[in-house]
Symmetry: D2
Subunit: 319 residues, 4 copies
Amino acid sequence: MATLKKKLQGLVAATLTPMTENGEINFSVIGQYVDYLVKEQGVKNVFVNGTTGEGLSLSISERRQVAEEWVTQGRNKLDQVVIHVGALSLKESQELARHAAEIGADGIAVIAPFFFKPWNKDVLVNFLREVAAAAPSLPFYYYHIPALTGVKIRAEEVLDGIQDKIPSFQGLKFSDTDLLDFGQCVDQNHQQQFALLFGVDELLSGLVMGATGAVGSTYNYLGKKTNQILEAFERKDFSSALNYQFCIQRFINFVVKLGFGVAQTKAIMTLVSGIPMGPPRLPLQKATREFTDHAAAKLKSLDFLSTADLKGRNLGACI
Amino acid sequence: MATLKKKLQGLVAATLTPMTENGEINFSVIGQYVDYLVKEQGVKNVFVNGTTGEGLSLSISERRQVAEEWVTQGRNKLDQVVIHVGALSLKESQELARHAAEIGADGIAVIAPFFFKPWNKDVLVNFLREVAAAAPSLPFYYYHIPALTGVKIRAEEVLDGIQDKIPSFQGLKFSDTDLLDFGQCVDQNHQQQFALLFGVDELLSGLVMGATGAVGSTYNYLGKKTNQILEAFERKDFSSALNYQFCIQRFINFVVKLGFGVAQTKAIMTLVSGIPMGPPRLPLQKATREFTDHAAAKLKSLDFLSTADLKGRNLGACI
Amino acid sequence: MATLKKKLQGLVAATLTPMTENGEINFSVIGQYVDYLVKEQGVKNVFVNGTTGEGLSLSISERRQVAEEWVTQGRNKLDQVVIHVGALSLKESQELARHAAEIGADGIAVIAPFFFKPWNKDVLVNFLREVAAAAPSLPFYYYHIPALTGVKIRAEEVLDGIQDKIPSFQGLKFSDTDLLDFGQCVDQNHQQQFALLFGVDELLSGLVMGATGAVGSTYNYLGKKTNQILEAFERKDFSSALNYQFCIQRFINFVVKLGFGVAQTKAIMTLVSGIPMGPPRLPLQKATREFTDHAAAKLKSLDFLSTADLKGRNLGACI
Amino acid sequence: MATLKKKLQGLVAATLTPMTENGEINFSVIGQYVDYLVKEQGVKNVFVNGTTGEGLSLSISERRQVAEEWVTQGRNKLDQVVIHVGALSLKESQELARHAAEIGADGIAVIAPFFFKPWNKDVLVNFLREVAAAAPSLPFYYYHIPALTGVKIRAEEVLDGIQDKIPSFQGLKFSDTDLLDFGQCVDQNHQQQFALLFGVDELLSGLVMGATGAVGSTYNYLGKKTNQILEAFERKDFSSALNYQFCIQRFINFVVKLGFGVAQTKAIMTLVSGIPMGPPRLPLQKATREFTDHAAAKLKSLDFLSTADLKGRNLGACI
C-alpha cells in the first residue's frame, strides 16, 4: 500500500508553524501558505512539524491540529504532505503516527530520540519500528540529523538495518554534511527504491552524489531559485547550477553570521511571502528588528526581493 | 507561601518508574516503593519523573498519573515529593506544573530545554519563569545537567539571574562535576536561602563544598549507606566518610564499566529491594542477565547485599 | 616570485613516511615511492610531512631530512613538492619554513596550532603570517582540518583575512565536510587566483562545488582510479564519475569500519605498491594482520588489486 | 632509586616561562622567581614547561634551557623541580627526558599525545613507557588533562595499567573534574605509594577525596593563600577552609569571565610578584590593559593585593 505511493521527489519545504503575537498557533494563514508555496515558489511537497516547524516545542494536541490543517488545506494542491511524528516519548510518537494515518497524510518521518540516545543501529531501528508499526500503511522516513540529536549512528547503517524491519520504509531526510555516509546510502539504493532527500543547504553537492530530492527551510522562500539549480543540474549546465548555488549561499552565509535559526527564518518568510509567521515559541526568541533589516537589505542586493516582490511576491533573478 | 515550605535537605531519591513486562506503568508497587525508601533506606524525599524516572519517555498523561500516585502514597510518609515537570514544549511543562500544584506536590523541578537550546542565561531564565508562573505557589527547582542537555550555561549564572525573576525559586539540583561552578553557587547562597542539591555520585566532595542535600538514583538502594557518609561528615570523621564514599564508588565504578544507566538501575533496584521495577521504555533496553549477575556478585562482595538482605532487605555494612 | 609558480592543481598525494621495523625513517625507498606515484598512479604532486606523513610525530631534524629527500628525489619527476611545516611551536615552524625554502621546495603548508587554539580568525592569521614570513618566497597554503585541530574558525573567514596579510598565500587544503564553507571559499576565489584543494574523500562533491584539486592519502594507491573521476567530471559524464566515486567509497567505507588511520594506510600502500612503508610511530600502532588480510580481500573484490597488480602493480578497472 | 626520592607533596607551582617583549625567553628573572615562590608564597615545588609554562610552544632547545635554569636556580632552595617532557614526537619527548636526568631534575611528567590520540589505556601506557625508559632513574608522573588533550581514557585505568609497566612511576597530576575517577585513583593508592596531585582549582574537594598535593598556576601568586586551605583542612576547620576556598574562587571566577588563560596569568603574576613575566608566545596574545586593570581591582577588593603588596609583596588576608 505504502509502495503504491508516488516516490517523494524534488523540493520539499520544511514548513514553519505560523503563530500569533501571543504565541498561539495561527491556523488561519496555512491555506494562504499552501498557495504561496505552490504558486510563488513552485514547491508542492511539505515536511510538517519538523525542526523548522518547532514540532518539538508544540503540545501533542497542537501537533495534531497543525498536521490536520496542512493535510486539509493541501488537498488537491500539494503532492505530498509528510508529517514529522518524532517525539521523546514512544507513546506520543505512536499516537501522532496513528493520527497522521487517520487524517490521510502522505507519509511520516521520525527523528532519533535524543534524551536517552540509541547507542547503536539496532536500538535506533527498534525504536523507529515501534513508531512505524502504529501506522503501517504510511510511507515511513527516517530523519537523520546527528548535529541536533547527538546520535552519531551513520545513516548508511540505519538504511542497511531498516529495510527488513520496517516494510513501510521509503527513505530518509539526510541532514548532515558527511557525504561519504550519504554516498553509501545512494550506493545502497541502486534500485532507486528509496527517496534520499538531502537536508542541508549545499544542494548541488548532494545532487551530484545522487540525492533524489531535498528538504529544507530555505525552500519556503527560495524554492523557485533552488529549482533553477535542479533544472541546470538536469541539463548538465554546471556553471549555471554553481552560480545559482552561490547566489543562495551568499544569502545563507550572510544570515548565518548574524545568527540564523527558526526565529530568523520566520522573519524572512514573513518578509518575502507577506504571510505573517509571527514569533517562535520559547526557548526561541523573536528575530530582532536589526536582523530583519539586514536580511531584507541582503535579499534586495541579491535580487531575491524587490519592490515588485513586495507587491507581486515573484522572486527576481540572481545574475 | 512557597517560602513557608520546609527547606528540602538530606537525601532525595530520584525515583524509578516501575513498569510491567509489556511496558505499561506499574502503579501498584509505588506504595511499597515509598515504604521501602522510608523504612529500609532512610530516605524521605523523592524526585519524581526526572531522568531516572524516564520522565521524558512518558506521555504527559502518564507523567500526571505517576506524580499523583507518588503524592498519594507518600502522604504522611515522605517529607517532600518534588515533581520534575520539564519538557521540550513549554505548554506541556506548564500543564504539568499546574497539575503538580493541584495534586499538592511539594515542589517542581525543571530541566533546560535541549532541542532548541537556550544560548544564554536570560533565555533560559525566561523559559523557566514561564513554567514557574503556571504554579506560583510551588517551590521551584532548576535541574542543572549540562552533560545531558548540552546547555553549557553555568549554574551560578542561572542562580544569579533567577532570584528576582522567579519568586518561588528555592534551589537547584546540580548534576555536573564543575565544582568551581558549584562553589560559586554556595558562595552566593550565604544566607542559606536555597537548597543546593548535589546531583552526582561523588557526594563527599559536594558536602565539603557546601551542598545542603543530594539527589540521586543510587539513593534508591544505597540510601542507608550514603547516610553514613552524611553522618560521618557531620561529626567531622573524614576518614570514615571517605571510606564509605569509596565503598559506594567501588560499586558505581564497577557497573559503569559494564554499561550503567536507567535500565541497569532498574535491575539493581529490583535485586536489592525485591520490588519489581520492570523493563525501561524504548529507546532504553532491559539490562542483560549478565549485567544483573555481575552486579549482584559485586553487591554481595561489598556486603551491600546478603542472604539476609534477600530476606529482610536491610543493607549490611561495608568495612 | 611566488606568483610565478604554476598553480597547484589535480591530485596531490599526502605522502606516508616510510619507516624501518625499528621505527627509524627509511629514506632509501623514497626514490622508488616517487617513481611509483608518477608512473603507476599518475600523481605528480606531493604533500609531505602532513597528517598522513606523521609529520607531528617526527623530530624537527627528521622532518628536515624527509623534506629534503622528497625534494631531491622528486626533481624533474614531480611537478610540485609542498612541505607541511606546521608545529605547535612557532619557532620550530619558522625553522622548517626557512629550511623548505633553502632546499627548493615548491610550497609550504601550515596547520592551525591546536594545543593553545586560536580563538578567532585574526589570531590564527597572525600566527600563520609569522610562519609565512620566514619563507616569503614560497607559496603558502593553509591546511584547514578542524576535526583534528579542534579549531572551528571557518575556512572562508581565514581566506578572507589572509589575503592582505600573507603575500605568498596561494590556497588551502580544505579537510572538512562543511561544503557551505567550502562553497564560500570558491565564491571568494572568482579570479581563480588560489588553489582550493579538497582534502576529504568525497571528491566528486568537492569538484562540483569548484575544487581546483585534491590532497589525500588515498591518492597514494588509488590515484589512477581517482583520476578517472576527474576525467569523467571534465567530460560531464556524471554517472561514470559517480560510479568511480562509489567504487572508491566502497573500499573506504569498508576499511573505516575496520578502523582506518595512518597505520592502516601504510599497510595498504605496502600491499598495493609493493614498497615497504613499515610501521607507524607511537602512539600509532602497526595495522593488524587481520586488517591487512581483510583490506587485501576487499581490494581484490573491487578489482583494485589483482594477481597482475601483485606483479606489475597497475591498478585494474572497477566496473 | 626513584623510590628513594621524597614523595612530592603539598603545593606545586606550575611555572610560567618569563619572556622579553620581543618574545625571547627571559632567563634572567628565574632566580628571582624561585626566591619569590619560596619566600613570598611558601611554595617549594615547581612543575616546569607544562601548559602554564607554554612548554609546547617552545622549541626543544628552549625547553632544555628553561629546565636547566630552574634546576640550577632551585638548587638548595626548592624541594623538587619536575620537568614536563611531553611532546607530540616520542623522539623529542625521550630527548627531553634524558636531558632532565642529566641536569638532575627531581622528576618528569608526560601528557598524553594529542594529535594522534591513544584510543585505549594500553596504547597510552605504551607511549608513556617509551618516554619513561629514556630516564629510568627519574620519578615519572602522568599528566592527566583530558579537556586539553581530548584523550578520554580515565586516570584510574591508566594508574591501574601503568604500575607494572613503568617502574619509575610515582604519581599523576589530575587536571580534570571527574571526582569519581579521582576517587578511584585514591582508592587504588591505599598504600600511599603514589603522589596524587590535584590539578584543578577546587582544591578543597580534592583534599577531602584524598589528594596528596596540588599542582596549579594560581599557586604562583596565591600559594600562601592556598596554604591556608591546606592548614585549615589539616586541623579539620572546614568552615575556614571553605571560606579561604571561596575567597580564591571569587577571584578565579571573576577572571574566568573576563577570559582567563596563560597570557592573563602572566599579567597577574607580573602584577602580584613584581617580576616581569612578559608576553606569551603566539598563538597566545598578551593580556589587554583592560583585563589587567580589572584583575588588579579585583585582587585589591579581595585583599589579595594592597598598596603594601605593591611594595612588600606579601599577600594580605581575605576576611
